[in-house]
């Protein structure tokens, strides 16, 4: 009788797909696919998204128009695909700025502690007292509608969440001996914060970034729906849903397909975030 012994050789660094978290794999499929569509919508869209076809107004899904047409005879499928460009752009631009700003500020504040920390706490309190959407709408209302102003509005509010996450994590990390070892080595504060503490503190912020991108798409769509974000005739899911709201009972396809696109893309980001959280957990 032979018993197959598992050889305990040096641990291999090769990653096997099977070992990766399932959520990461699924998210890792949805998002790159979304990105490809966002960069090259013309390769997939059968029609120009802004061309009116007066012979096919409000046409139901068919072989010619897989997702039907809207009240101007524009192909819904093409508009959904072209909207990827704008909506993923919103996902990235509305979150990356707050992510970078909030992470840097949070790291500095968490390291400094004391007054800076108390101040950040009060600023966070002040900002999260307002409902997020209402505050963003108020800022956009002052600055005027449009994507750029939406990014500014989201940036003003969004950084606090990252700053709070990173500050709390850095505060924990800076008490560990490796931070003291850095100080005893005579390393600069800058090096200790950004080379040592931040890589060990940034995981929650990255995971939140993924969730936040999904939320940003929802927010972008909401503002588009309200007419404060992307402006017609640009193809954007929120704008499309708003276009279809008057035809909900007679031409459901105008609003439902962009809605599905929002859900799938948002899910992709969330799954990727969950998977990353699992993967990036520090090994002890």
């Amino acid at each position: 009788m032979t018993i197959a012994l598992e050889t305990t050789a040096t641990p291999k660094r090769r990653w096997r797909i099977a070992k990766l978290p399932g959520t990461l794999v699924l998210g890792g499929v949805i998002l790159p696919a979304s990105l490809v569509i966002a960069f090259f919508p013309n390769l997939f869209a059968p029609y120009d998204p802004t061309v009116f076809d007066y012979n096919a107004l409000l046409a139901p899904p068919s072989a010619a128009h897989l997702m039907g047409t809207d009240s101007f005879g524009r192909d819904v499928l093409s508009r959904v695909l072209y909207a990827y460009t704008i909506d993923l752009q919103i996902a990235v631009f509305a979150t990356l700025g707050p992510f970078i700003l909030g992470t840097i500020l949070g790291a500095l504040v968490g390291y400094a502690g004391g007054f800076a920390e108390a101040l950040l706490g009060r600023v966070v309190d002040a900002i999260i007292t307002f409902p997020f959407l209402v505050l963003v709408i108020a800022i956009v209302a002052v600055l005027g509608p449009g994507l750029m102003n939406m990014y500014i509005a989201v940036g003003v509010v969004g950084w606090v969440f990252y700053a709070r996450l990173v500050a709390a994590e850095v505060k924990v990390q800076k008490r560990l001996d490796y931070a003291d070892a850095g100080r005893a080595m005579g390393y600069t504060h800058f090096r200790i914060i950004f080379r040592h503490l931040l890589p060990n503190s940034i995981t929650p912020a990255i995971v939140y970034l993924m969730t936040d991108m999904a939320l940003a798409i929802l927010l972008g769509s909401s503002l588009g729906y309200l007419g404060l974000g992307a402006q017609p005739p640009a193809a954007e899911w929120g704008v499309q849903i708003a276009d279809g709201k008057n035809y909900m009972t007679t031409a459901w396809w105008i609003s439902v397909f962009p809605g599905i696109a929002i859900v799938v893309t948002g899910l992709g980001f969330s799954l990727l975030g969950d998977g990353l959280a699992e993967l990036l957990r520090t090994k002890k």
Binding site: D177, Y178, D180, A181, G186, R195
Partner: protein, 347 residues
């Protein structure tokens, strides 16, 4: 063995005080009572010669680690000063401070938190080497291999992360990191207390060898008396943030001149049943460092305490050429000394 070395003071502490404020109670503040604080160090003084190993022992909470951190300036002392080559280290800034950091290194107690988990060993050592410009960039990989060899780790360790090593191996990485910058003084804070006994000897013997090889001056903070006896030239016994006795290792262990030292030695488990004793050398618990007793700090537990001990705090006074104790009973422990009084000490 110490006498053969030129006694040249390298690092010294002068009346070092350190306290950590506690969260304050508004009522206390209104009542005008003094602010609460943990008195971690209550006037610590000692001198350390080049090439010497000083063991620092004491119970948990006696300020050993605080003292170690003050020596490498991870903490600034509230009063008193730490001098390195005669210079007050609190006055060092910029390049001078980095130079001091390079020359006085620390090894930490917990091998699991003292290494950055996201850096490979190569990066950990390489960073120390490049920040302090110990070697030209091209020679750094060779120096890393050399350092790993010095602490007896295989050269392929360089490309691994800390979590791939055992506690003893990690502690050796910590030693390699400290040695990377070629320091004069190594402060080892409970170097092996987190390790298995079987691994402890390995790491301690490595430290001893490196000390001889590299002529290091070592401050060895520990609570394991046998370990300290094994490794130190001189020993300082701390109690509630103060040194109560300091002297050559063998002299101090064989004939302690302070009741606390005697209590500490008697409390250590004795293997030989014939030498076991039931005599209680110290009673009660360690008093709170928030409110240390007036007079002699040890008076609450000392079996020999008399009136003067409650009124006046004893100073460290000479018990021999290099032996000092802080006790009003100057004769304490004298009887136990087997005529070593006449030994001549070279200056």
């Amino acid at each position: 063995m110490m006498n053969t070395m030129a006694s040249q003071v390298l690092i010294s502490a002068e009346e070092v005080f350190k306290e950590f404020p506690l969260p304050q109670n508004a009522l206390r503040r209104l009542a005008g009572k003094p602010l609460l604080a943990v008195h971690a160090l209550n006037g610590v003084s000692f001198q350390l010669n080049r090439g010497e190993t000083l063991g620092i022992v004491g119970e948990s909470g006696c300020g050993k680690s605080t003292l170690a951190r003050c020596l490498v300036r991870l903490l600034d002392c509230d009063e008193g000063r730490v001098r390195f080559e005669g210079q007050d280290i609190a006055d060092l800034h910029g390049a001078a401070r980095r130079g001091f950091n390079r020359r006085v290194q620390m090894i930490f107690q917990d091998p699991y938190s003292s290494l950055n988990p996201r850096m490979r060993v190569r990066e950990i050592l390489g960073e120390a080497l490049s920040v302090h410009k110990m070697r030209p960039r091209a020679e750094i990989p060779a120096r890393i291999a050399e350092l790993l060899d010095l602490v007896r780790l295989p050269s392929d360790a360089a490309d691994r992360f800390p979590h791939e090593f055992s506690g003893g191996q990690r502690q050796r990485i910590g030693i390699a990191r400290a040695l990377a910058v070629e320091p004069d003084v190594l402060v080892a804070d409970e170097l092996v207390s987190a390790l298995d006994v079987s691994v402890q000897a390995q790491v301690v013997n490595l430290l001893l060898q490196l000390q001889e090889q590299l002529r290091l001056t070592v401050v060895f903070v520990a609570h394991d008396l046998r370990l300290v006896r094994h490794i130190s030239h001189r020993v300082a016994v701390m109690y509630l943030g103060k040194i109560v006795e300091i002297g050559p290792t063998e002299e101090l262990f064989s004939a302690p001149r302070h009741p606390y030292t005697k209590a500490l030695l008697d409390a250590a488990p004795e293997l030989d049943p014939a030498r076991r004793t039931r005599v209680v050398a110290a009673r009660g618990e360690l008093p709170s460092p928030i409110n240390p007793p007036a007079g002699c700090l040890f008076n609450t537990r000392c079996p020999h305490a008399f009136e003067r001990c409650f009124a006046e705090r004893p100073l460290l006074t000479d018990r021999g050429p290099t032996h000092q104790a802080a006790c009003h009973l100057h004769e304490f422990g004298l009887a136990a000394i087997p005529q070593i009084q006449d030994v001549e000490f070279a200056p």
